[in-house]
């Protein structure tokens, strides 16, 4: 086992590095590196990605392992499993961190199995024991419990981190770039993309947004979700929804927040016409400030909110959008 800490640079569809990768680098720099003693490293995998190493250095990555391979274009978990597994087997890092995204959730478990690494997913807190073993806190039991997980020594320790859990903090260095050759052939790629649809939106992506405005079934129709989008746009927020609203066809599945959908942890979360069922709360309960708008004075979400207005969303939201527009312009 080496004393290196690795952070995987996870990339968006447009090829930019996700904010959560910088958050992970920042936290590793702040809380882990001085104890473990080795260099902070980033792993950059993709096709035509070599120029992104500098961006990782900005957040403290002293070494950047680069796997630049045409087979790592777009959605391609088989290629990533092979590349990262070979790198981990070769260099034996002490800790490997990644943001918890739909992509890492898909391929990191296979890497952990292939390399015999311990794995804990969707951390909301991390620490180190006296003998530098990783500890991770994560939600369990439909978010009704928080489990603290401790890793055994002797294997690489892997964890994925819920986005927006840690603050990103610049700590610029000029990274040493190490080009790694991984032999990926067509035969390695079993899962082949037939069609890739990217959804272009002017709004920020749900999982990394600083602010989220989400609506429930009480919106009543697809057209009425305009109330949610209007408020979201005033706040430069992402738009979210409950499972009930998605099931009713008011908005697409990629807006779903909760146990089945996405887990978010923004600074500000607006829950509009949402009762706060555990299935939804598990996906947004770590938000820093929760505001709810609900016409039911007895709604359970009020007991889980910082601020709330008991009122009809169709009356309250237009006024709120206007007032916030004014407040933000000041």
């Amino acid at each position: 086992m080496s004393n290196e800490i690795w952070v995987i640079a996870d990339m968006k569809m447009d090829g930019s590095i996700r904010k959560v990768s910088f958050e992970a680098l920042s936290e590793a720099k702040r809380s882990m590196q001085s104890k473990i003693g080795g260099p902070l490293c980033a792993v950059l995998m993709g096709s035509g990605v070599a120029d992104k190493a500098e961006a990782l250095g900005k957040y403290g990555a002293e070494k950047v392992y680069v796997v630049d391979n045409a087979h790592l274009k777009d959605f391609n978990p088989d290629g990533y499993v092979k590349a990262l597994s070979e790198l981990v087997a070769k260099h034996q890092p002490h800790i490997v961190l990644a943001g918890n995204t739909s992509f890492t959730e898909d391929y990191i478990p296979r890497v952990a199995a292939r390399t015999g690494s311990g794995l804990a997913m969707e951390a909301i807190d991390m620490g180190l024991t006296d003998d530098n073993r990783l500890t991770v806190k994560r939600y369990s039991h439909s978010s009704k419990a928080i489990s603290e997980i401790e890793f055994k020594a002797g294997n690489t320790m892997m964890a994925t981190i819920r986005p927006n859990t840690y603050k990103e903090e610049e700590s610029p260095v000029s990274p040493e770039v190490i080009n790694e050759q991984v032999d990926i052939s067509d035969a390695d790629i079993k899962v082949k993309v037939v069609n890739l649809e990217t959804k272009m939106s002017d709004r920020p992506e749900l999982t990394e947004a600083e602010r989220v405005v989400a609506g429930g079934r009480g919106l009543g129709s697809e057209e009425n979700f305009k109330y949610i989008y209007d408020l979201a746009d005033v706040l430069s927020a992402a738009a979210g929804a409950t499972r009930a609203a998605v099931d009713a066809g008011y908005c697409p599945y990629d807006m779903q927040v909760g146990q089945t959908g996405k887990a978010v942890s923004p600074t500000l979360y607006f829950a509009v016409a949402i009762s706060g069922a555990v299935q939804h709360f598990s996906g947004m309960g770590t938000s820093k400030v929760i505001v709810s708008i609900n016409k039911d004075p007895e709604t359970p979400i009020f007991a889980k909110s910082d601020y709330a207005i008991c009122g009809d969303l169709f009356e309250v939201l237009p006024v709120l959008s206007e007032e916030l527009k004014k407040a933000l312009a000041e």
């Binding site: 739909s102 500000l268 505001v291």
Partner: protein, 277 residues
């Protein structure tokens, strides 16, 4: 087509969750044990595939004696037979080892074409065990399949949602998929089918039947001490919020002029109290 579904029995998290006296697990005295809800979608998808293409559905589970109930429920939904890997130590065993043991039993079934499991096990909220099972089986996987577009004897075409879009992929069979709740409507087991399920064959397997040498792990890997990761503490999260609820004068909804007042108060709180604007 020979279809295998890997299912788990979980405690019903709809109910209250309390911490056990040891502090490192959830109290199980009065809990209800259920078939992992996400596994129901996997069982349903397996049965629908069998109805379309013919063949059989085999349910495989690893757990203590009570785990048979989860297998029977899948059989009552329409699966044909079961394999119960029975041991009390699985609850404290990490996903890495469980995937290896379950894979070793699935490998003993001849000619498996298609393996399915739920996208998550709701008690430890593990999304990884299904994917690690694919790795141990040496099969390709597609996780979080929102829709099966096409399946035949040799290949599977399916859709999955990813951050910032959706993707349709084609994968040769045999392969493994993990199933979220959006993909189908699990059927209810009728009373006659529940009765019939009691007579369907379930092969009981113990750790003595597992060839640990071939798996590259020791028998001690089952249980807390042998796991690469262990739960050392469980807490019930405390909800600590400010609870500033603005209501109307009659203690219900804000009306008329109260709406503008309430909104102004809220904006002021967000700016000066929470400092998030």
């Amino acid at each position: 087509m020979k279809i295998v579904v890997f299912v788990s029995q979980t405690l019903d998290t709809e109910a209250r969750v309390a911490v056990s006296s040891s502090g490192d697990s959830v109290a199980t005295d009065d809990v209800k044990w259920i078939l992992n809800p996400y596994d129901e979608f996997a069982v349903e998808e397996a049965i629908q595939t069998k109805e379309k293409l013919g063949g059989e559905v085999i349910v495989v589970s690893a757990g203590p004696a009570r785990g048979i109930d989860a297998i029977r429920q899948a059989l009552a939904m329409g699966a044909d037979s079961g394999v119960h890997i029975k041991d009390d130590g699985f609850a404290e065993t990490d996903n890495y080892t469980i995937a290896k043991i379950v894979a070793s039993e699935i490998k003993k079934i001849d000619g498996v074409d298609f393996v399915l499991t739920g996208m998550k096990i709701i008690d430890d909220e593990s999304v990884q065990v299904g994917i690690q099972l694919a790795e141990e089986l040496g099969l390709p996987h597609v996780s979080l399949v929102s829709k099966v577009v096409e399946v035949d004897a040799s290949k599977l075409v399916c859709q999955k949602e990813i951050d910032g879009g959706s993707v349709v992929v084609e994968v040769p069979l045999p392969a493994l998929i993990t199933c979220p709740d959006a993909m189908n409507e699990p059927r209810y087991a009728s009373l006659p089918n529940i009765m019939k399920a009691k007579k369907k064959p379930v092969n009981e397997v113990t750790l003595d039947d597992i060839d640990f040498d071939t798996l590259g792990i020791s028998r001690d890997a089952v249980g807390k001490s042998g796991s690469k990761v262990t739960t050392v503490k469980i807490e019930v999260p405390v909800i600590d919020r400010k609870l500033k609820i603005i209501k109307g004068s009659d203690d219900t909804t804000v009306k008329g002029e109260e709406i503008a007042q309430a909104v102004q108060e809220l904006v002021q709180l967000l700016r000066d109290d929470a400092k998030v604007l």
